[in-house]
């Protein structure tokens, strides 16, 4: 049984992944459709649906991220499969009422078929005209639009770039528009508490959330609990939010303009304990688990950077568990302190995003040369330079594989989904420690901020990580002595009795470990460092394909776009197309059976959020195959529909 509805729930022989994944079975997902239509007492229709996409959109300060995540929490607890997509501007309070300042949180939840946050919402919450404008191009037919009528004054819709009030013309004729005086009603609901105008106004998101909960027959208790807990020190604010969410719920209940409500059944998941988890939280916890398995403290040296900061903030809470979190003075100190910690025997990691990765480059080379275990997490965002700090992209792949001076090989892995960041953080640590090499783990904004239910793992379920034994202290050991199979040198933490030694960035003699500028020795050491990384592949699981009998089109993906790619391919397979997918998490080195997979297909289409970086890498590695590309560089994830169109086109041309 799958541990979750969304990926990586590979077919029977999966787990597309590290040793830690449990094997899963392919389910036959019924196509998304209305399961039942029943009229309710008030003449309204209650639609039982398989899955629904809801988007909360408003000003950056409107609390849309909070509303979205509270809604997610409730649906997750109910047992829905979920996939979320927070999408917000990089400014903390972007200009109010403008399209550029719109903050959105999209959630796709349902009983099955939830592989992605969904292409377009069934229900849009638009707190102002700008939020409406920003989403107008991507609404499903008959989409329900809940909006705050109070924020549709002339100056509001003018600011958003409308020529007239969009609620009055026939612009929205195809949709179910529910204009509610949310601001007025919210203020009325909390009037008894004596809050100032601003504080009362800030409860609008709770009111709106109440309306959405009613729309989906979802309970309020989880959110009420949250508000009371969150505002424990300012109980009047907590109570105001509770009043507002209840008022929103009751208002929707009595408001005849809402024509239909929905019931979304829970997913059929493997029995067990679940929790909702974001990619960044899962990454942090994966490292905690890995360090516990190694039996050493975890050291994180890091510097705040969007969208990676949450990993540091999560780990900073867990000093009790031996997590040493050092917020350094810059990105370089972040990684170099981690390298120092690795030298002194901690499980060492550093977390960053593209610009920080660029700054860490020289230090990564040092870790390659010193052959110390280190994990570098790059939560990718749009680049180059500062680029799109809050948007998703996969354009740091070649930087990770090759972006250093000298012949400087290391291991590159990527995570697929929010929850499997746990497994890949664990696997990155395992490889770093067992092979004495830096490992780059690539995640991306899309899965780092996205959330999904995670079937909670325990330490006992995780494999062991072998940090190796200390060498003898009789003087026979040399720092660059190697394991004859893996070529890993021994990890001898500074302070180990009787084993003092020197390492550094200068080339070392392959036997004595002393500084050497000997030409032949350098060439030999370059080869050893390459072979050491290549031999990581000796112990990796085979790369998997979904679509055993397919031969026409192979879709190739990597990283956090897995769910969307998997969803698109699955749907086409159900429609009878000759299509398969293979998705890479081990990127350097590649799994050993990779070429044999490519050889089976007439066409190979590499899909990624960049200009073709994996494709370039695959062409360089496997010049015998012809790799087509499907690329998108908009700071946005793929959409299932655009992928399906592209795949069908490829199949028709084949």
């Amino acid at each position: 049984m799958p541990t979750r509805e969304s990926p990586p729930s590979w077919p029977s022989d999966n787990p597309n992944g590290p040793i830690v994944n449990s094997f899963t079975k392919l389910e036959n997902h019924p196509p998304e459709q209305d399961l039942a239509l029943t009229a309710n007492v008030k003449g309204r229709v209650n639609k039982q649906v398989n899955s629904v996409v809801v988007k909360f959109a408003g000003d950056s300060g409107d609390g849309m991220q909070l509303a979205g995540s509270l809604f997610t929490e409730t649906t997750a607890i109910k047992g829905n499969a979920i996939a979320t997509f927070p999408d917000f501007p990089s400014e903390i309070r972007a200009p109010q009422g403008t399209v550029a300042g719109v903050s959105g949180y999209q959630i796709h939840f349902g009983a099955s078929g939830v592989h992605s946050p969904g292409d377009a919402p069934d229900v849009l919450v638009a707190m102002n005209p700008a939020a409406l404008k920003a989403n107008l191009q991507q609404l499903k037919p008959a989409c329900t639009i809940l909006c705050d009528k109070d924020s549709f004054a002339k100056r509001d819709w003018e600011k958003a770039g409308f020529d007239s009030n969009p609620l009055e013309g026939d612009l929205l004729a195809d949709y179910q528009v529910v204009p509610a005086p949310i601001t007025t009603l919210t203020k009325g609901a909390v009037a008894g508490l004596g809050l100032d105008n601003k504080a009362a106004d800030r409860c609008k998101n709770a009111f709106t959330l109440g309306m959405v909960f009613w729309l989906f027959s979802e309970p309020l208790d989880q959110s009420i609990k949250f508000f009371r807990q969150k505002f424990k020190k300012t109980p009047e604010i907590g109570e105001a939010n509770v009043l507002a969410i209840k008022a929103g719920y009751n208002y929707a209940l009595t408001m005849e303009v809402i024509k239909a409500t929905y019931t979304v059944l829970p997913a059929s998941k493997a029995p067990g304990v679940y929790r909702n988890i974001t990619g960044n939280q899962a990454t942090a916890w994966g490292f905690l688990a890995a360090a516990a398995k190694v039996g050493k403290d975890l050291f994180l040296g890091s510097y705040p950077i969007t969208p990676a900061t949450d990993i540091m903030q999560e780990l900073a809470k867990h000093k009790w568990a031996g997590a040493k979190v050092f917020q350094a003075e810059d990105e370089i100190a972040g990684i170099t302190s981690a390298i120092g910690a690795a030298f002194a025997g901690n499980v060492a990691i550093t977390t960053t995003s593209g610009p920080g990765m660029a700054l860490k480059t020289e230090a990564i080379g040092l870790a390659v040369m010193a052959e110390l275990p280190l994990v570098i997490v790059n939560v990718q965002r749009g680049g180059p330079s500062t680029g799109l700090p809050t948007k998703t992209e996969q354009s740091d792949l070649l930087q990770a594989i090759w972006g250093r001076n000298g012949e400087s090989p290391l291991v590159v892995l990527s995570a697929s989904t929010p929850s499997d960041c746990f497994d890949w953080a664990f696997e990155a640590t395992r490889i770093a420690v067992e092979h004495m090499t830096p490992v780059v783990l690539l995640t991306e904004s899309y899965i780092a901020n996205g959330a999904e239910p995670w079937k909670v793992k325990t330490l006992e379920q995780m494999p062991e990580i072998q940090a190796g034994q200390l060498p003898p202290t009789d003087g026979s050991w040399k720092p660059y002595d190697r394991d004859c199979h893996s070529l890993a040198r021994k990890w001898v933490p500074a302070g180990s009795p009787g084993l003092q030694h020197r390492i550094g960035g200068l080339e070392k003699d392959q036997f004595s470990g002393c500084v050497s500028h000997n030409p032949n020795n350098h060439e030999a050491m370059v080869a050893i460092r390459r072979d050491k990384v290549d031999r990581v592949a000796d112990r990796l699981p085979d790369q998997k394909v979904k679509g055993k009998n397919a031969s026409k089109l192979l879709v190739v993906g990597w990283g956090g776009q897995f769910g969307i790619l998997f969803g698109a391919v699955s749907e086409l397979q159900q429609e009878g197309y000759d299509i398969a997918i293979t998705h890479f998490n081990y990127i350097h080195p590649l799994p050993k059976n990779t070429a044999s997979i490519f050889a089976r297909f007439q066409k190979i289409l590499v899909c990624e959020l960049n200009n073709g970086q994996l494709a370039k890498y695959l062409r360089a590695t496997f010049p015998q195959f012809n790799f087509q590309q499907y690329n998108k560089v908009q700071g946005q994830p793929f959409k299932v529909s655009e992928l399906k169109n592209a795949f069908v086109q490829q199949l028709q041309e084949a």
């Binding site: 997750a76 607890i77 047992g79 829970p266 998941k269 029995p271 304990v273 679940y274 929790r275 916890w285 905690l288 688990a289 516990a292 403290d297 050291f299 040296g301 000093k319 009790w320 568990a321 031996g322 040493k324 050092f326 350094a328 003075e329 810059d330 100190a333 170099t336 302190s337 981690a338 390298i339 120092g340 910690a341 690795a342 030298f343 002194a344 025997g345 901690n346 060492a348 020289e362 230090a363 040092l366 793992k457 325990t458 330490l459 009789d474 003087g475 026979s476 500074a494 302070g495 180990s496 009795p497 009787g498 084993l499 003092q500 020197r502 390492i503 550094g504 960035g505 200068l506 002393c514």
Partner: protein
């Protein structure tokens, strides 16, 4: 490499078996001797010492010591050392660096190490030049100096190591010439015993690219009048016959001659290295030739909160307060839900 150390060691026992490759006559040899002497005086265990360096002539230091050593990248030694100390707080951590390494490319790590007051020792070999790249001006090169990268003379103002250290919140600052191995070793011993970041500036001579840059301070003829070797609790006197002293006149320091103008030993300032306020320490650091002698020895040695101790204390406090028995508890905490 040898068996676990049990007996007391002589200074030379701390040297590694590697051939030392500094230029003949380089001041670095004296620092190497002083470190060995200090380690022997302190009876340090070789496997409990980590020497971390960046890039430059001075940064080859770790290879020449039979301790744990890490020759890292340019400017970053203090940051690497911070990770070493936090990972294993029982280690005695020493950073070996130069004026270019610590103050130019590594300036950021330098000031933040001072600010945090992490318990380690930094020895900054200040030869006022880039030696390993063959003679370019560094942040401490005297203004106007004609060098390969400044053929018309440098137009850059200089950093004062001591002022930078104290300005960044440094609690321990010592200055020593490379000509005085005994004083160097003594200062290193004090640095080791000091809890917090200990900064030792060595006025070091580069015989090839900046020879005699500190000669006025270290020269045999001039040193008696040009050096004020400070000792905590002792009056600030100097001169061949201890005839000179430093007096505080209003808000200014001044040099007095004992027995002249009615001035006597009671007018001379007594050095208090431990004063929390660094105002007087800064004034001592700022004394420059020719009006003043150059202050040497431990100029400041004040107590303040120590980063690695507080770092550990937080962890220990949280360990005794946490509701979690282990990671499994954490993973199952909060909003979990059961699917049957």
């Amino acid at each position: 490499m040898e068996a676990i150390q049990t007996a007391a060691l002589k200074p030379r026992d701390y040297a590694s078996d590697q051939e030392v490759k500094w230029c003949p006559g380089c001041g670095d040899y004296a620092v190497h001797s002083a470190v060995q002497k200090a380690f022997a005086d302190l009876a340090l265990k070789k496997d409990q010492v980590a020497i971390i360096s960046g890039i430059g002539c001075s940064s080859r230091f770790p290879y020449y010591m039979d301790t744990y050593g890490f020759h890292t990248i340019h400017g970053r030694a203090a940051a690497v050392a911070t990770g070493v100390k936090l990972a294993n707080p029982s280690l005695s951590v020493w950073v070996m660096t130069g004026d270019g390494d610590a103050l130019a490319i590594g300036g950021n790590h330098f000031i933040h190490a001072q600010r945090r007051n992490i318990d380690m020792n930094m020895v900054l070999f200040n030869n006022e030049i880039y030696g390993l790249t063959k003679g370019q001006h560094s942040p401490t090169t005297a203004k106007g100096k004609v060098l390969k990268s400044s053929p018309l003379g440098t137009i850059e103002n200089t950093f004062s190591v001591g002022e930078l250290c104290l300005g960044a919140g440094g609690q321990f600052y010592a200055r020593v010439p490379d000509t005085d191995v005994k004083l160097m070793a003594q200062v290193m011993t004090e640095a080791y015993r000091h809890k917090g970041f200990a900064m030792i500036e060595v006025l070091q001579n580069c015989v090839i690219f900046n020879d005699k840059t500190h000669a006025q301070i270290t020269g045999k003829e001039s040193r008696a009048l040009n050096q004020l070797v400070l000792e905590h609790g002792k009056p600030m006197i100097f001169g061949a016959n201890s005839e000179k002293g430093i007096r505080l006149n209003g808000l200014e320091l001044e040099v007095i001659t004992l027995g002249q103008g009615g001035m006597g030993i009671n007018d001379v300032l007594v050095h208090d290295a431990t004063n929390k306020s660094n105002i007087l320490h800064t004034m001592l650091v700022q004394m420059r030739l020719p009006e003043f002698p150059v202050a040497l020895g431990v100029i400041r040695r004040a107590q303040s909160s120590v980063f690695d101790q507080d770092f550990l204390a937080q962890s220990e406090a949280q360990k005794s307060n946490t509701p979690f028995k282990g990671l499994n508890d954490l993973f199952h905490s909060g909003n979990t839900f059961q699917i049957n």
